[in-house]
Symmetry: C2
Subunit: 209 residues, 2 copies
């Protein structure tokens, strides 16, 4: 499993491969050719072969891919078997929606706690996840060393909250704030969720021309 | 503004161009070269020129792009000046998070109403948006002809709710249910938001190899 200079576009396609293969696996499909997988995903067979060649040798001429093997291998490349620990920072509507509905374990993440400033929320449990006061962040992070913070705080405090978490050693941010966060600390990763990009794609598709 | 056979990858980059140009415009940048824009976005200058050539002639040799002109033009291509009408179907945590925090007008969408089955919500207003009972869907859609439904209902009723909305004439779906929706009706567009794809990309980046 080599991975030198894998392009951003390839990295962004990996979760989609994983999702389609997961789906095929659940439907009982044992093997699939790159052309049929490509047809399902709306990309070319040669693109698939090229993408996967970044990570090793997969599939066999004339046979295609073993669905379960490729799924497991891509899952491994993505780190779903790493059991990353995650906290949700900001338990407003969006934070609560993620806590209640997003399947963190399916992506290999253990959701350990949520943090908020609201006295209405602090001390409660949401879907089994304790909501702690923001003042407990330092103590909790020192003790539990989460890998990732889901950032669902208001925009006005987004950068400040990220800085505080980076100071505590957190390097991965799943950023829902729509603020472009920055940090000079090495190895900090911001993964921004831009809802508008998705809605604008839909807008393009339904716009008559 | 031609647009024949524009690839999915190009369409998906358009909102990102729009976002970056919006940002540059707000910062007062008047013009930008394809190489500097590419550097900011993490793609090559030639990719940008190739993408934009699908839609016409933009920029000038030796000058680059006029930020505001290109922003407005891409906005137009995306349909942000079309004033699409949208309803939110399912006012649970995620629906409420979108109603309260997502800037629909910035994407050219007018949010007209939300629908839910919960007696606690029906009859209320959320951020000025009325929450109506699901039983009013037929009457409302007939009268207001929304273009897009944001689907934030539970998985178990996702396909059924989509079918009901398609029967009423809605063709655009912003789908947050994580269910792969299908329809045999022509011109129905499902834009799926897959949170897990984004988290798995982050997982890849923080996983030590």
């Amino acid at each position: 499993m080599k991975k030198q200079n894998v392009s951003d576009a390839v990295i962004r396609r990996l979760p989609r491969y994983y999702r389609y293969l997961q789906d095929l696996h659940l439907k009982g499909t044992v093997r699939i050719s790159s052309s049929i997988l490509g047809e399902k995903m709306g990309i070319t067979a040669s693109q698939i072969r090229q993408d996967l060649s970044c990570f090793g040798e997969f599939g066999q001429q004339g046979y295609g891919y073993n669905v379960e093997e490729l799924r497991a291998e891509i899952g491994h490349i993505l780190g779903v078997d790493e059991s990353h620990r995650v906290i949700v920072v900001g338990a407003g509507n969006l934070g609560r929606a993620l806590i209640h509905n997003f399947r963190f374990p399916d992506a290999g993440f253990l959701l350990e706690a949520a943090f908020d400033v609201s006295p209405d929320l602090v001390g409660r449990e949401l879907a089994g996840v304790p909501v702690l006061d923001m003042s407990e962040l330092e103590r909790f992070v020192a003790a539990h060393r989460p890998d990732v913070a889901v950032l669902t705080v208001p925009q006005a405090v987004a950068q400040r909250t990220a800085d505080r978490l980076i100071d505590l050693g957190i390097r991965g941010f799943w950023n829902f704030t729509n603020v472009e966060l920055t940090s000079s600390v090495p190895n900090v990763r911001f993964e921004d969720v831009h809802f508008a990009d998705s809605l604008l794609t839909l807008s393009y598709r339904i716009t008559e021309r």
